[in-house]
Symmetry: C2
Subunit: 233 residues, 2 copies
């Protein structure tokens, strides 16, 4: 099963091309390099290197978030476009599960963190043997609340863990382990691992249901709710 | 410290661009995509995305092998060229240590394996907490000999572990764990992690001493030795 996997859920972008359990290529662009031009360029480059076209693929996989609202939307829109144009199915997965799988066979539970701004993080807790197993649901919350909910030692990774490292250290002390910096960026290849399992089980998502997992309302929605509440009052 | 890290030690090629402990980008091309054209293309793309030129970098890092003789030579030649042209220093590291670091904080020792052809593997055994610690020297040997030398459970990864999976399974049974397939390709970003540590300690390698770690003689050398021995006899 040939899968193109896309992640733009943070301020990075990453694309992986795989054929069954073989990774054909991967391109990751770090902070502030994420825009649709670069994303399409990476996809074209990977397909060209593998001498493949979108029509030759079997599925398009994409991270549904949580993460940057705009980023997630760009990724999903791209996957939907490719899926619609080729008639091949789409597969969605959690961006936090993908990030956790940067530490396969980790000795401790893995806590992937994205910076969610507004003094919050998108956070998950996973066991990463083989495939990621969620130990709690992905959530958006203040980092202190997340840390309070973690009883046992964990390995932290992702931009959120970089930003809140001092807080994590002071709260958890020796219970907090940090992944090496080379593992902090989300990798579409880890998403491809999850996507292949879903694809083999036939767990495709109809395009109309391939929606972002924002976990919280957007600024516009919050503003609208406030306006509506004021009108009703 | 801005570092461009190159790995072409297997039949894959991979390039990473980093600034201190920040990964700016990475491009990995799988099996049979490794050629100097693609390598230079990946380097150019990463530099362009980061709006950097070779002259703006502080060091060039490269995996010295063991691995494909031609591949290792291409990688080292490229790093030497960039280093010579810019006057910036070079850093070398083991390709097996780099591959092992695809499993940072692994719960068991990590055994990276490249297929060395001639029924042998390039093999190492590392503990991967933070940075890789070699538990035995990198070696080239028949896979059965390597497996006989491993007493305790280990996590296997790399193309060599894919090729010899049945043998590993039958020899070690439950003591053998296999990394998920998404971790089987060497990643220059893991090399960048090792390179940054060396760079910060000033462990640069003069270009004249930046040599492949082949671990065994080349076909041409073996043939020459045989000819010389026959002449001497």
């Amino acid at each position: 099963m040939k899968i193109l996997t896309i992640d733009t859920s943070s301020n990075c972008s990453s694309v992986a091309l795989s054929d069954g359990t073989k990774l054909l290529g991967e391109c990751i662009l770090g902070e502030d390099r994420c825009n649709s031009g670069r994303l399409m360029g990476s996809i074209s480059d990977l397909l060209a290197a593998a001498k493949l076209t979108p029509a030759a693929l079997d599925a398009f996989a994409v991270s549904l978030g949580p993460g940057s609202f705009t980023g997630v939307r760009v990724g999903i829109a791209t996957a939907k476009g490719l899926s619609l144009a080729t008639g091949k199915p789409a597969i969605g997965f959690s961006s936090l599960a993908m990030l956790a799988m940067n530490l396969p066979h980790a000795s401790l539970p893995v806590a992937p963190l994205f910076d969610a701004r507004k003094s919050e993080v998108y956070a998950g807790l996973y066991r990463c043997d083989g495939l990621p197993t969620a130990l709690m649901p992905d959530a958006v919350l203040p980092p202190a609340d997340f840390l309070a909910s973690i009883g046992s030692p964990a390995i932290f990774l992702g931009e959120g863990s970089v930003r809140y490292r001092a807080l994590i250290d002071s709260t958890l002390g020796e219970k907090a382990v940090f992944a090496p910096w080379s593992a902090d960026l989300p990798r579409a290849s880890a998403g491809a691992l999850i996507a292949l399992e879903k694809g083999l089980r036939g767990e495709f998502t109809p395009l109309a249901l391939l929606n972002p997992a924002y976990l919280r309302a957007s600024e516009a929605e919050i503003a609208k709710r406030k306006r509506d509440a004021e009108k009703a009052a």
